[in-house]
Amino acid sequence: MVLKSLSDLKGIVSGKPRKKLVLAAAHDQHSLGAVIQAWHDDIVEPILIGDARAIQNICMEYGYNIDGLQVIHEPVTEMSVERAVRMLNGKQADVLMKGKVGTTILLKCVLNREWGLRTGNLLSHIALFEVETYHKLIAVTDVAMNIAPNLKDKIAIVNNSVSFLLKLGYVMPKVAVLGAVEMVNENMEATLDAALLSKMNQRDQIKNCIIDGPLAFDNAISYESAKHKGIRSEVAGDTDLLLMPDIEVGNVLYKSLVFFARAKVASIILGAQVPIVLTSRSDSEQAKYDSILLSAAASN
């Protein structure tokens, strides 16, 4: 199965028990709005941890109805994150979401050796884009978490992403390793890594997917472009997952698709015991909602 639009995620979630989402430092209008909407739509069962009074005030001001929702009062930001993480560590909930707290504090708690959510895997970010002119969703990693991943990191990022796609119902997702060019160029490390990843995939060192690279963006996305260049590839033109060489490239691509191509996007952090929703203030309400939906679909 492949997903054609973000709303297809609803099909994965519906009919199953609702996942519990813990919003840490929940006194945050930006995330509260999306969480409450997702609750009303039966997508998640939220637990709000944060400054209860501030939460009340926000709900009054914006007309959010939270009758029947579990709210745990913990006004100290760090403590509210710790309680959220401990709750997930104890398997009392399924998804962690960041509220009004810096990413650094949140990740510090997630990575706590005693009560955190470590699995031994690298944490990585994945974004699913819905673009009008592509025939299915396209997953992009990593545009937000790993700055300049080396080969070992890239393997971990691919593994994280592939097992995530399998959870969503994909079978043998097609992974394109992005380069500026489709030829291996000894001066461009990204193209060397791409070649190695492809070979490791062929030798079954990286499983459950088909990897090809380096592919330039047009070859990865457009079958026509690949044909023009005479590239023989199972992945070209039919990519499910695009692996970025580094955060600079990923961030540019992410933002240009959202701004210029009006792409819809949902994103989460992978590699911890549970999916983590880590949206930023500048994300749209829709993007936050879709990210929550994605986290519910990815958690099991």
């Binding site: 047009d218 996305i221 026509e224 691509l253 698709l257 210029f260």
Partner: protein, 300 residues
């Protein structure tokens, strides 16, 4: 101020001048079709280098009257590239364009110390004018095609080339966004240090008149609303004319992504040469190819 590629084309057409374009190894239909359009529009005279027999066969296949073209017999792509460059060098052509010759052969001829077209001491780079439905003017980008990892000196040259081009488009004080993954300098990326030096140099008048800021992400460079939401103070103010990218790895997927997903069209040109040099990828649209040729005429 010229705000679209079609306005630029109109300007070239109204000039009423015919530019002589030497095409290196004009053996593919792609090239022939692009150049035919320029000839039919009345802005170009074509001088094709390559095997006469094959070029004639190609013309016949597409129903093109070969008397529209001057054909110069060359045996292979290396000598065809050298012949095309020579025509420009001796003043028999105004513009050089790559046909089916390999990019490296073609650029070698362009960069040849004695017979080539490089301006003394110049950096070879590329500036593209990107036309996007979601942007209210042209967005000039550099360098999406030639320099993999530009150093400081190359970045300065890239900025100068872009400023020069925007001034031809009637922009007096272009806003240049130096692109990064965020607005914060990063110790992981050399470009951050380059950007600080460039801003100082621009302020000191060592770089031609412009408004320069960076690092900025794509949102902060191109979207005023994001600038407001994030509260970042930047003179570029979400209204960039020029995006200067830290690497080919980031610029290449940027423009290809926007061509495929955001309805973008690109006119682009090699810079650093005595005469305009047109280099375009085979997979670019028919329209973009024509824009590249028109841009060369415009800048000639």
């Amino acid at each position: 101020m010229i705000r679209s590629l079609d306005q630029m084309v109109a300007k070239v057409l109204s000039g009423g001048r015919k530019y002589r374009i030497a095409v290196a190894w004009a053996h593919d239909d792609n090239t022939i079709l692009a150049i035919r359009k320029a000839v039919e529009e009345g802005i170009a005279e074509a001088l094709l280098t390559g095997r006469k027999k094959e070029i004639l066969k190609n013309c016949q296949a597409w129903g093109i009257k070969p008397e529209n073209f001057t054909i110069i017999e060359s045996d292979d792509e290396v000598s065809a590239s050298a012949d095309a460059v020579k025509l420009a060098k001796t003043g028999d052509a105004d513009i050089v364009m790559k046909g089916l010759a390999g990019t490296s052969h073609f650029l070698k001829a362009v960069m040849d110390k004695e017979k080539g077209l490089m301006l003394p001491g110049a950096v070879l780079s590329y500036v593209g004018a990107l036309q996007l439905p979601a942007y209210n003017k042209l967005l000039f980008i550099t360098d999406p095609a030639v320099i993999p990892f530009p150093g400081l000196e190359q970045k300065i040259a890239m900025a100068e080339y872009a400023i020069e081009m925007t001034s031809r488009f009637g922009i007096e004080k272009p806003k240049i966004a130096l692109i990064g993954a965020s607005e914060k300098p990063s110790r992981h990326f050399e470009s951050s240090a380059h950007y600080e030096a460039m801003k100082k140099m621009a302020a000191a008048g060592q770089i031609s008149t412009c408004i320069m800021d960076g690092p900025l992400d794509i949102f902060l460079a191109c979207d005023r609303k994001s600038v407001e939401i994030k509260g970042v103070k930047t003179p570029v103010d979400g209204d960039a004319d020029i995006l200067l990218f830290p690497s080919l790895e980031s610029s290449n997927p940027f423009y290809k992504g926007l061509m495929l997903f955001a309805g973008g069209e690109l006119g682009g040109l090699i810079r650093g040469t005595e005469k305009p040099v047109v280099l375009m990828s085979r997979s670019e649209s028919e329209k973009s190819k024509f824009y590249c040729i028109a841009l060369a005429c415009f800048m000639a």
